[in-house]
Symmetry: C2
Subunit: 263 residues, 2 copies
Amino acid sequence: MLDNIQIVMVNTTHSGNIGAAARAMKNMGLSRLVLVDPKADINEEAIQRSSRAEDILHQAVITDTLEEAIADCGFVVGTSARSRNIPWPLLNPRECATKVAQAAGQNSRIALVFGRESSGLTNEELHLCHAHVHIPTDENFSSLNVSQAIQVMCYEMRLAAISEGGDQSSADHPIWGVDWDYELASHAELNGMLQHMEQTMVDIGFLDPNTPKQTMARMRRLYQRAGMDKMEINIMRGMFSAVQRQQASLKTAESAEQDGDSH
Amino acid sequence: MLDNIQIVMVNTTHSGNIGAAARAMKNMGLSRLVLVDPKADINEEAIQRSSRAEDILHQAVITDTLEEAIADCGFVVGTSARSRNIPWPLLNPRECATKVAQAAGQNSRIALVFGRESSGLTNEELHLCHAHVHIPTDENFSSLNVSQAIQVMCYEMRLAAISEGGDQSSADHPIWGVDWDYELASHAELNGMLQHMEQTMVDIGFLDPNTPKQTMARMRRLYQRAGMDKMEINIMRGMFSAVQRQQASLKTAESAEQDGDSH
């Protein structure tokens, strides 16, 4: 299970936090660190704070965007302190660990995404996540250091990994309770379907291309929540392609009609 | 929570089982019994087996079809001994009780559906359920009496009701972890959306009306699994209506084109 999990840090501004995160990960048996457009170097301070977890720092993957970082992940969880304008599935850390164990039981890659020290994750970034996780804190003092948040989450991941097979809701128990017939779709495949859906909605005049936000955010939330498999993605995309072919013949027919009028 | 739950018995053939079910329900604090096209009467034997739960028998609702019985329910669970040709979300009784408590926390009506003494529920009936529940039994002796199965499920419902508010995953904790902005769609609303989807797929030539089964079963599974809210239903239906309007104008344009040719 733990090998399926990558810790994703977005726009981290302090080298020490990157080092401390690497140490927290290694303490709990995780090794995959992804840094999205980091604003701090992996410097001497980072290595010193990592204690003897330099190997994780050396192997850390650096990407330009969060999209790249999570492209091959089947389950993506973002840490969130605030509640959102559109409500999103929200887990506590233990519930999150159970879901991660279940997704890992289906050989999915999992991403746990942590935001900026100053401002966390943006709404756009949080909307890319299947679910959000909130670490319970004193509401009068709720802002955790990012490496501490990573420590708490990695600890819960480890507890779940240890209990694997131990209980019904753990990793030997697939995410839908039965062995599924198709693999979970990756984030990239889900994105492809949602882009196809948005383009189709625009083509047929259902969606205003200038204000797609709320509708598409709700559609993304719906399909991410369901945890789509690859066959379900294929069916949806097949339907959208059929709609687009129809739209094309409509345009042809209309222009043909105009030619007819011009006789 | 318990008041939100209805026990649905399909084509029950023994009056004694209906009476015993009523008693089991009352023992655990449930009261809503629905009989779908019962093959046995509420007779002296039923009343005697119900002990002092005649009130449940007298108030029992009788319907012709399972669809009618679950029309206003937001969460429907079917008991299943067998695994299916298409895998479906499968819960154990305790997991089921947690989900029921969460749905009840959102004021949804819940249906627990039990099949025939002889043959259980059909695939068609099981496909109407958001999830299936399997009561663990000795695999060499796995067939429970229907009233015993109802007893086990009502017992788990009662445990969940007692622990309400007691733990994170119970009824004070909404099904998606946050207070949602729209109500869960009812079974009838979900069905309306799926019928609209199927008709649209047929209109645009994506779905062969003679063999829609597998595709539509997968779509039903997808949207039931997601637990759609009313707004999501509206968005989907709005999209299908737009596709159908487009299809209509295509037909018009084509006939106009033919008129043009006929000049």
